[in-house]
Amino acid sequence: MSGETEETFIGGQKTLVVEEKVVLDKEYDPEFVAEIVKYGGRDVKTCHQCGNCTGVCPYSLKTLYKTRNIIKMCQLGLKSLVLQTPWLCATCYRCYEHCPEDINAAEVMIALRHIAVRDGFIPDFIKRVTVNVLQYGQSVAPAREVEVLREQLELGPLSYAKPKYVKSINEVQYIIRAMGYDKLVHVKIERSKDKGAEKGEDKGADNSVDKGEDKGADNGTEKGADKGGD
């Protein structure tokens, strides 16, 4: 396993970076540690590489991305390399519970995501879910099948289908715009105005990303994929 790890870890640079401690000029960013702190991470320089975080991390045990190595890359200011890694942190916070230096690696990962988003690495699911929230006030798109069942269970209509809910959706849209979040993740807001319940159909046209086909797909996946958009 270890040999393989060294081959593939962050573009095959593990031996070079972590062991031989060679940092190429073009990859070195002296501001990186400070930037992580700015977005709510602790000072990663205090990490002494004990590896507890890696031992309890569900994804470190399964993939070639080890928490400890990522923290090491951060210490070395290898911003461009770190930002290329996929978002594999489940934010389960087990690393935090086991860190003797109180680094909270999960929060460091969150800070790295903040930096990545600002550097233009915005995964599609971020946009898709944002579109749902703008559209329905909720992150999961409604599904017809579920609405039918809700009627049978006498649970009442979903929020988005209630005329009064338009006010709440407008508030959510206002906050997202006021915070500049729509621009940050490249999503366009269109005011839903008073006719909130033109549900179903061409939501894609309203608050759109590139193309919004399977918005439901995110949290709702299978069901969302075939029900959400029709």
Partner: protein
């Protein structure tokens, strides 16, 4: 104090049976916990997305929900670990006066202001505490009490072997989460036992289902392979149903199993299980929408009823 039912996104839109079960078990004929329906609640917002991309937006959107509860003088009752973590953490974060005033600047635009819940006092100095955010499990186990639940159980699920999955954000991070010891949780197990069922021990019980933090949306195969690991030890333990405290974990177990040949252990929310034990008709629990059929455990119940 009454609880404002915070259903979140996944429950009303994917697993409405959880909503039905919760209303049933907390209803007048069962545990009689006062519930308020709050129409203005929006997405908590989902931590894997908003907390990942921009914490300030996350805080402002969460604060909006908290203000709705604050203005109605209610506590927030969440049925989902994600909602719990998002709102609970936001309420704690808003104790910081600088953060609070920044958020209030934005909320002013929608006519809202977060202060926290006002405590009764002598009227001269106003005192506030964070808006209270509670998880269904702690309300059931601590506020209602295990005994009262046991009293209401009419159909003990005595032959059910349950694998309990807590879910990460019910337990951690322990900085803001204080329901119970993250390394030795027992409240969901207690609730399962109150239903007359057996809670089986299995390896890596406290491990993540694989879905959290946007991983499910980002790299689904990997999330599924994590679930596969958990499923293996759940099967080895001989469980016939998985009980979660979180609809997102439920979704993950319920969909990831489709990719695992030969593995299909039904997954239900803790509220579903308690509703069954309190004699609810399974037809109302929305099990038709589950990918993994819940029939094996329902058959167990039926067999017993006819025996």
């Amino acid at each position: 104090m009454a609880y404002g039912l915070f259903l979140g996104c996944l429950i009303p839109n994917r697993y409405p049976g959880i909503e039905w079960s919760t209303r049933f078990i907390l209803g007048r004929n069962q545990l009689n916990v006062p519930l308020v329906d709050v129409e203005e609640f929006a997405c908590c917002p989902v931590p894997g997305i908003f907390y990942s991309a921009d914490k300030d937006t996350w805080l402002a959107l969460a604060a909006r929900n908290l203000v709705v509860a604050q203005d109605q003088g209610i506590e927030v009752l969440t049925l989902c670990n994600g909602c719990y973590m998002s709102l609970h953490k936001a309420a704690e974060t808003l104790q910081d006066s600088k953060k609070r005033s920044e958020v209030n600047k934005v909320l002013r635009g929608v006519g809202k202001r977060y202060t926290g819940e006002e405590l009764p006092g002598d009227g001269r100095v106003k005192q506030y505490r964070p808006v209270q955010v509670k998880h269904l499990v702690e309300v059931l186990a601590n506020d209602v009490g295990i005994e009262r639940i046991e009293d209401k159980v009419t159909t003990p699920l005595s032959d059910f072997r349950v694998a309990v999955h807590y879910g990460c954000h019910y337990l951690r991070p322990s900085t803001t989460h204080t329901i119970e010891n993250p390394n030795r949780p027992h409240l969901v197990d207690d609730l399962v036992r109150a239903c007359g069922a057996t809670s089986v021990e299995y390896d890596e019980k406290l491990a993540c289902c694989g879905a959290g933090g946007g991983v499910r949306s980002h790299v689904k195969e990997l999330a599924d392979s994590m679930t596969a690991d958990k499923m293996k030890s759940i099967q080895e333990a001989g469980a016939d149903v998985i009980v979660t405290a979180c609809p997102f974990c439920l979704l993950q177990f319920d969909t990831a199993q489709l990719t695992l040949p030969g593995i299909n252990t039904p997954v239900v929310h803790i509220s579903n299980l308690i509703a069954l034990a309190m004699g609810a008709d399974p037809l109302f629990l929305g099990f038709d929408l589950h990918n993994v059929s819940v029939n094996p455990i329902l058959r167990k119940l039926r067999r017993r009823a006819t025996a």
